[in-house]
């Protein structure tokens, strides 16, 4: 059993009149158990040539309704450049330059086709990604 730790820290000294500090640590486990996730497709990068929609993760390649986790980061340093992130053609949000996201993924391929798709706002952008799988 592998042990994979995900931690998040949200901090600000001046957003509010008191300092903000939110922290959490999660041990990534298979669905409904304390067994650690054992699969990953590794840390990858994709350079997108144009502003077409790309499929980053195909739901058909993962088991439905498990505890998969996805990490994404827009590697651009141009503030106006973003990746629009979709699940099953539903827009989740835009990752602007330097933004990252970490989310659970149902990978449902029966009810709907829950591919993770990205649409870059400009040519020649790079996204970094990792899939941690519950298989």
């Amino acid at each position: 059993m592998a042990t994979t730790i995900a931690s998040i820290n949200l901090t600000s000294a001046d957003l509010l009149s008191d300092s903000l500090s939110i922290s959490a640590i999660a041990t990534l486990t298979t669905a409904g158990s304390s067994t650690g996730l054992t699969g990953t497709e590794g840390l990858g990068r994709k350079k997108t040539a144009n502003t077409s929609e790309y499929t980053l993760f195909a739901a058909a390649n993962a088991t439905d309704d498990k505890a998969h986790k996805i990490y994404l980061k827009n590697m651009s340093t141009t503030a106006s450049e973003y990746f629009e992130v979709q699940i099953a053609d539903v827009v989740i949000g835009r990752l602007y330059a330097g933004d990252w996201a970490f989310l659970p993924w149902s990978a449902d391929s029966t009810g709907t086709n829950c591919d993770i798709d990205i649409t870059p706002s400009a040519n020649d952008m790079t996204i970094e990604y990792m899939l941690l799988t519950d298989e």
Binding site: A2, T3, T4, I5, A6, S7, I8, N9, L10, T11, S12, A13, D14, L15, L16, L20, I22, A24, A26, T27, L28, T29, A31, G32, S33, L37, T38, G39, T40, G42, L43, D65, A67, H68, Y71, K73, A79, S80, Y82, E84, A88, V90, V91, I92, G93, R94, L95, Y96, G98, D99, W100, A101, F102, L103, P104, W105, S106, T112, M130, L132
Partner: protein, 144 residues
């Protein structure tokens, strides 16, 4: 008003070599270097029903402006999960202890974020969920 979000992913044994990913993002308004300057703060709710609930209602003004959502299932029971949906689409399940941090475009008023304690029963106890929203639109104020 800089707010930073730091993610660390670490494992010594999920692959043949260690995995160590550490990323910091400064939360900014859409397409600019200006800091996000509003937050609803850290909220906590206890889910005690399988019924789907609106956690964050999308607002038209927020369409494609920058917003970031943090959510964590604070249950200590690894088997208890909440199902997270955006615009009626399931994104995934947060099991006890799991968190997520995502951008949220609020593409239309249907893009609300909903949660359900899908496998809750009267014997499992409440599922505590904490969440925060960092945003730039003003529609989270209720019009008088």
């Amino acid at each position: 008003m800089a707010t930073t979000a730091t993610l660390t992913l670490a494992s010594t044994d999920i692959a043949g070599d260690p995995v160590s990913v550490s990323k910091v993002a400064t939360l900014t308004k859409a397409g600019t270097l200006n800091d996000l300057d509003q937050s609803i703060g850290l909220n906590r709710v206890h889910l005690r029903s399988t019924t789907e609930k609106v956690l964050l209602a999308a607002n038209a003004e927020g369409n494609n402006l920058a917003a970031k959502v943090y959510m964590i299932n604070k249950s200590e029971d690894a088997s208890l999960y909440i199902t997270v949906k955006i615009n009626a689409q399931t994104t995934g399940k947060l099991y006890g202890g799991d968190f997520m941090f995502i951008p949220w475009s609020q593409t239309d008023t249907s893009a609300s974020i909903k949660v359900a304690a899908t496998n809750w029963t009267s014997s499992t106890g409440d599922i505590p969920v904490e969440y925060a929203l960092f945003h730039e639109d003003t529609d989270f104020l209720t019009n008088a």
